[in-house]
Amino acid sequence: MIVPMGHLLILATILFLLGLACVIAWRNLIMILIGIEVMLNAVCLTLVGASAYWQRIDGQIMVIFMMAMTSAEVSISLAMVVYLQRRKNSIDIRDFDEMRG
């Protein structure tokens, strides 16, 4: 393994935190979705790294599954974004707080 495991984990953590900050801070629904993708990819990176570190194939299989799952998720989420945009003519997350207590 060329890249040390520690670097890889640090990179994955930074990516994850960036994605998390994006999800928490943005008000635009599409940007929130992008943040989620970034967080997922950070996790994928960790899995691939771990797979290489321990020389086992499970982690990479898992990443393949996650790619499939992510593409499905994105297609559904974007469809919902379009639907919400039609409904309120806005994709600002503050306009969709009907579930408040």
Partner: protein
């Protein structure tokens, strides 16, 4: 005999229960007939059992309460005192029931009236015949309840309902003292049997007996409308007239006298209690007589006069003569129920007008009513040789015979009261009967059913002296002998007896002459301070209002506003408000934004990571 006695008690109860249950469903005259029949039958059975009273008849119906050493039977004790009282109660009640049948003829609520009236007779007989204090107390409360129900009989007018409530509450104050006395007697003797208590009263210390005597006196004061618990009786006149005649003249108000006579062996052991009884009696007699002078409503005059006459009976007990008290109780029951029922007739004649200043000329309207009412009035005023004359004279003579300054003072106040009594009696007579009619209402003549029951009462009242005719007049003091008190009565020389009788006649004449001079021709009386003072009963109502009712209301308001609304509701609502407030704060966390929730996740994650870090460091 036992059966007859039991029937005497139970017939009015049966009548009352029957009318309360079925009175509304049966045809109209049936409740009236049942009620009258029950009481008259009760009178007849009482008359039948009368001969057994000499030896004392005891009937135990069943055991009412039994717990450990405590036992209270529903038991009847028919001794001479109870017999004479029961006979009077049932007899007068029979006549008043007949009168009420005429008086209440058009009232839509007849069955309620007669049910209560019958229950009242039952409760009164329970007081009279009870052989233990608990049963007596049951009757005592029973008459209080019936009195309440009957004073407020026309409850749609607020002042009637209020008068009923006032009577009930004021007598309850007296009942409280009676209750304390009963419980204390039970603690002392372990039994409530009247006979045992009387027999063993000598074992008690003087202080105990004195306090017991005073407690019983206060209990009696409440029922008998004596000072200081007398304010209810004048207002009780809001009830129908037969009720005033039966309850507030003849029977219930004399229950206090009967109680003291019943427990006389106990009460008489304490000179202080006896003195207190005499003072209460004589002061009430004077107070009420003075108030009667100032009243304008015919029934209120009679109410105050009742209070005054019951005061005489208390005085008789206080000076140690049960027979004089019972003698006056009997004659008073006859002539005062006669007067009340006569007043009912007069009010009918005057077109339901109560004010004697708006009457006058009633003699021309109905001769029989005039004669009957005058028969009652001269008994009340103490016309020589009438029943009231002898009974009042005997009380005064007993007081006089003691000879010491205290009893002479009581005698003096008593004789002054007799003069005032004569004055207000004839004031009433002149205002009601003399001159021309001053009112505008056109009255209607009373029916025969309202006249005839008065005749026997008038005869009994006038000839009432015969049942206890003093030896001086050739009698044998039958009543005193019958009550077993013949020997221990007072001894006066013939000379002083004549002197007392002359004094009694003299004060009667003084009252008559004064009333004649003042009221022979009607003059509209000027509004004066004294008149208002007497009319309002010495402002006792206002006084009690100020020193008792208002402070009580303030206390209630304090407890309500300060205690209930301030403390209790403060605590409960405080809890509620606190949790609502916190709930609102917690609600802010669920603001519907995903980012906020995610922040929660992040904070949680940080806490978990921090926790693991701390653990790995430690």
């Amino acid at each position: 005999m036992a059966l007859l006695l039991t029937l005497t008690l139970l017939l009015p109860l049966a009548g009352g229960v029957f009318i309360s249950c079925f009175g509304e469903r049966v045809a109209k005259p049936i409740p009236v007939v049942v009620s009258c029949a029950a009481v008259i039958a009760s009178f007849l059975t009482c008359l039948g059992a009368f001969s057994a009273a000499g030896e004392g008849l005891r009937v135990v119906l069943f055991s009412w309460l039994k717990s450990g050493s405590f036992q209270a039977d529903v038991g009847l004790h028919f001794d001479p005192l109870a017999a004479i009282m029961a006979l009077m109660v049932t007899g007068v009640a029979s006549l008043i029931h007949l009168y009420a049948a005429g008086y209440m003829h058009d009232d839509p609520d007849q069955s309620r009236f007669f049910a209560l009236l019958n229950l009242f007779v039952f409760a009164m007989l329970a007081i009279v015949l009870a052989d233990n204090l608990l049963l007596m107390f049951l009757g005592w409360e029973g008459v209080g309840f019936c009195s309440y129900g009957l004073i407020g009989f026309w409850y749609r007018k607020t002042e009637n309902a209020n008068a009923g409530r006032k009577a009930f509450i004021v007598t309850r104050i007296g009942d409280l003292f009676f209750t304390v006395a009963v419980l204390w007697l039970f603690k002392l003797f372990g039994t409530l049997s009247i006979e045992t208590i009387n027999a063993r009263a000598g074992e008690l210390g003087l202080v105990t007996v004195t306090i017991l005597g005073l407690l019983l006196l206060l209990g009696a004061c409440g029922k008998s409308a004596q000072l200081p618990l007398m304010t209810w009786l004048a207002d009780a006149m809001a009830g129908p007239t037969p009720v005033s005649a039966l309850i507030h003249a003849a029977t219930m108000v004399t229950a206090g006298v009967y109680l003291l006579s019943r427990l006389f062996p106990l009460v008489s052991l304490s000179p202080v209690a006896m003195g207190a009884i005499a003072i209460v009696g004589v002061v009430t007699a004077l107070y009420a007589a003075s108030c009667a002078v100032g009243q304008r409503e015919i029934k209120r005059v009679l109410a105050y006069s009742t209070m005054s006459q019951v005061g005489y009976m208390f005085m008789a007990v206080g000076v140690g003569s049960v027979s004089a008290a019972m003698f006056h109780l009997l004659t008073h029951a006859f002539f005062k129920s006669l007067l009340f029922m006569g007043a009912g007739c007069i009010i009918n004649l005057a077109g339901h007008e109560n004010d004697i200043h708006l009457m006058g000329g009633m003699r021309k309207r109905s001769k029989p009513v005039f004669l009957l009412f005058m028969a009652g009035l001269i008994c009340l005023a103490g016309f020589p040789l009438s029943g009231g004359f002898f009974s009042k004279d005997q009380i005064l003579a007993t007081a006089f015979a003691h000879g010491d300054p205290f009893h002479l003072a009581i005698y003096a106040v008593g004789i002054l009261t007799a003069a005032i009594t004569s004055f207000y009696s004839f004031r009433l007579a002149y205002l009601v009967f003399a001159g021309d009619y001053r009112g505008e209402e056109q009255g209607h003549a009373p029916s025969g059913l309202m006249i005839w029951p008065l005749v026997p009462l008038a005869l009994f009242g006038l000839a009432g002296g015969l049942i206890n005719l003093p030896h001086l007049f050739g009698g044998h003091s039958w009543l005193a002998d019958w009550l077993g008190q013949g020997e221990e009565e007072f001894h006066l020389s013939v000379h002083s007896e004549y002197l007392l009788i002359a004094t009694a006649i003299a004060v009667f004449l003084i009252g008559l002459i004064l009333a004649h001079l003042r009221y022979r021709r009607f003059r509209e009386p000027a509004e004066r301070v004294v008149g208002r003072f007497l009319l309002s009963g010495w402002y006792f109502d206002g006084l009690y209002e100020r020193i008792l009712v208002r402070p009580f209301l303030y206390l209630c308001r304090f407890v309500w506003v300060g205690g209930e609304q301030g403390v209790v509701e403060g605590i409960v609502y405080g809890f509620g408000r606190t949790f609502t407030h916190w709930g609102k704060l917690l609600r802010l966390m669920t603001n519907g934004r995903i980012s906020t929730y995610l922040q929660g996740f992040v904070w949680g994650l940080l806490v978990i990571i921090g926790w693991f870090l701390l653990r790995s460091v430690a």
